[in-house]
């Protein structure tokens, strides 16, 4: 069972306090978007083996959403960060680079 640190309230807690919210940094496509764009937005998830970025909510806690960078193989958590961003912050990316040189995830590396 994972432990995660909520960047919003600072609590390090076990997984049962949190609720997973799937892949992070998905851009919303609304009316006016093409079928392909909309399909991609709704259904195309990367589900990688290795470095992954996810959304989590501190459901039994402060109630806030946040992002986590995590390895889906070893379950190592590289870091958690604000939900109010469209891409992983540089310090998180640097941390991952130090541990998983050459990593990439979607358009990020």
């Amino acid at each position: 069972m994972l432990i995660l640190t909520c960047p919003c309230c600072g609590v390090t807690a076990e997984e049962t306090e949190f609720h997973g919210g799937g892949e992070a940094h998905i851009k919303r496509y609304g009316p006016g978007s093409s079928d392909d764009e909309f399909h991609g937005y709704l259904f195309e998830k990367v589900n990688p083996k290795g470095v992954h970025f996810e959304r989590w909510r501190h459901a039994n806690g402060c109630g806030k959403w946040f992002h986590a960078a995590r390895c889906t193989v070893t379950l190592e958590v590289f870091g958690t960060y604000s939900a109010q961003t469209t891409e992983p912050p540089q310090d998180i990316k640097d941390k991952i680079s130090a541990k998983r040189p050459g990593w990439s995830w979607r358009e990020f590396a």
Binding site: L2, R57, A83
Partner: protein, 1003 residues
Amino acid sequence: MSTRLANGGRLLNKAQPLEFTFNGKRLKGVEGDTLASALLANDQMLVGRSFKYHRPRGIVSSGSEEPNALVGLGEDARFEPNQRVTTTELFDGLTCASQNHWPSLEFDVGAINAKLSRFLPAGFYYKTFMFPRSFWKHVYEPIIRQSAGLGRAPRDRDQDSYEHFYAFFDVVVIGGGVAGLQAAKAAGEAGAKVLLMEQTPHWGGRAPVDGGTVDGQPVDKFVDEIVSKLETMENVTLRRRMMGAGVYDHGYVLGYERVKDHRPDSIGPRHRLWRIRAGQVVTATGAIERPICFSGNDVPGVMLASAVRDYAVDYGVSVGDRTVVVTNNDDAYRTAITLKNLGLEIPAIIDARAGGGGALAGEAIELGIRVENGKGIARVKGNKRVEAVEICVQAGEGAALETIKCDAVAMSGGWSPVVHLWSHCGGKLLWDDEKAMFRPDVDNAPTGAGGEGFVRCAGTAEGHLDLDDVLKSADAAGKAAAGATGHTPKRSKTPVGDNPREAGIEPVWLMPQGAGVKLRMKAWLDYQNDVKVSDVQLAAREGFESVEHAKRYTTLGMATDQGKLSNINGLAILSDALGQPIPQTGTTTFRPPYTPISLASIAGEARDETFQPLRKTPMHGWHAENGAYWEPVGAWRRPYCFPKPGESIEDAVQREVKATRDSLGLLDASTLGKIIVKGPDAGRFLDMLYTNMMSTLKPGRCRYGLMCNENGFLMDDGVVARLDEETFLCHTTTGGAESIHAHMEEWLQTEWWDWKVYTANVTEQFAQVAVVGPKARKVLEKLTDDDISAEALTFMGWTDVTFGAIRARVFRISFSGELSYEIAVPASQGRAFWDMVLQAGAEFGVTTYGTEALHIMRAEKGFIMIGDETDGTVIPQDLGLDWAISKKKTDFLGKRAQERRHMSDPTRWKLVGLETLDGATLPDGAYATAEGNNANGQRNVQGRVTSTYHSPTLGRGIAMGLVLNGPDRMGEVLEFPKVDGTVMRAKIVEPVFYDKDGEKQNV
């Protein structure tokens, strides 16, 4: 025979005799006994029958690895099957019974299977019961179920209590032998917060039995001193009778504490499951001795050499008068020496190694014990008890050289470190050829949240068999674990252990090496599941080459002991059969728990009245007092109806509908979700959330709204009231309160975080009462001086009203088609308000109604219900709700999805009303059939029933359904087959059955 010795028994308090019962026989033991030692002291070697062949089986071990000696323990509300006698502490009045035999332990009919064992090889069931297919369900399965199974399930409700406990430590040390004690001390002295747990009631593990010295003192003394020292350390928690059940991701450890199994009549929980978060885990779990595979190695009286020694030293019990020791390593010599020194006979030590043993062998020879090197046991003679062994040359095929009379055999095939906890969470193993064991690959430890290893092994669990190595390894592990959690280990001296030097082990996977098929068919690997050497070899021949496949095909290691004794021998046999080295075969996966734990401990507090949270409205007590027939709605309990004494549920529902439509009904609507949405961008936000326009709603007014998810499917509906320019109150369905609030927060926090909107879920702040029916206004006017006339409070309006001392918000909305008010009052005054309306309504014959009457009334009006008309695949357009979908808005959640091709497909099933031709009520969920069959040979369908009721208002069955091209087919008759084969016919009609123009609600 096995008996209690006059001397010895270091764990016993002989001054305290205890009585217990086995299979109805009253027997005597003493304080400190395990059930196993007490049974042996009473010469009860035969304890059970095996699973498949019902062979007589005796106690094999002295610990948690025991495969054979399982009993049904206790009676009635305290009965539990499959309890290992070796880990059951004796208490006065203990009652137990052997399992898996009929009619008795001594004479068992099922033992005929053993005679047929030639015809019951591995995979027998799979091969035999395949055909004819129809026989499986009615013939084979019932017969197999009758004869299979171990023990019987308890019948009575468990009378004990259980609990969880969340605890956090820097270092958790599992295993309280000398290694665990030393590791805990090293970590504790560094300042780490340490938990040390030991599954038995005793500290010290095997070392006090095995002998040797630590810093020149006997091991016993060392153990006493280190325990005393640890007890004084405030940062160290010591816990006995607590097993490390599993090690999981990120340092999560389950500790299974058996709080009062040994004193069942005391108060408190029986088991406590510790849910521990550890910075570092040190497994000091020791090792388990392996049996040797020779013919007849399951005859009662054949035991692990270490167990024979334990019973003698710890419990003062001799397993036999004449014990033959058979071994491939030096450790078993300790058993021979111990027994000899106690005055018992050792007819011979059979050492499979041609070169014999080391210093301990010398000591045995000096004591006058006959040692036969390079020999093995060809077969054991005896049925329910060992009578003799035939010895042979280990390198040969089993020709008997000599028959030696004996009543016990102490065997040792070497030691396997307990690597389970290391492996649970991904720790890798190495095969050590020299020691013939799998041991932890310390460079490949399980990794935690930070990516670093968090499990270390100490002592024998790491593969060390020499006492001094054990202590050094434990000290290092404790210090390293403390260091890894930010503490600085002290430079203390490691205790020095001293033990005779041992000669190396020579692996013996089969005895004798060239044993023929007859011997191999009686050479057991897995005692509990009756798997023999020949079965594993057969599996290999039949192509089950993966160890995981061979395991499942033969059931090796699949019994309650999970192969603690059998796995290594089994995979060595498999490797040999496949002609490959052992590491290439590998091990099966080690899964938690280490030994079985009670299901009730896993449930913890979640049982009886705290099984689940049951949500209660402020009026719940009234409902209960007035005979509510409950319906679970999410975690809530809502009254389905209020049957009067002698009244049926159906009749009550019909009465409630009629009374409400005729005069006055009262519904507890408190469970409806209520969410405040406030801010300069609140209108804009709600326009995105609802399909219709909310920003244009005027303060003081209400509007019904639909909510879709991004897939375009309906997820919730409800009435939105605008409280002021910046504030809205959104009502959700009962089930939607939490999820819709979370949905709002998700969009605000993760997509539109720059929008100025705050939300608050105030669902439970208010008790909400629906006052419904032609007399609704009359009754309320009796209770207030405020103006709630038709002109002052129009349909879809709301206003603040004071009812006596109660301040309320009154919404004039209707889900029934009647004149109707929903009144929100503070929850703490909900019951008072409810009582007030009941009293005032008495003159109108006020009737409380439940969810079913609510459903019927809304269906009569053609109002949809989320979860009935919708199922996660239905869009508002399917339900004829196009009027609630804004054409003006450029965007709302679900808008883009509803533009997808499939969503605008004209052949999507659409909502209609359904009227049976004979007035009967359609079955819920029934399908309307169409011509022909589909690709699977099933009848084509063209619609289905989504809601169906008997309407007391119309005196007939009414239904709503989704039908292909439904709205264009008014008047057509559809066929709905029922499960009994008959067909109901129903006409397609408009979905509004009652008061189409809304005259009743608009008065």
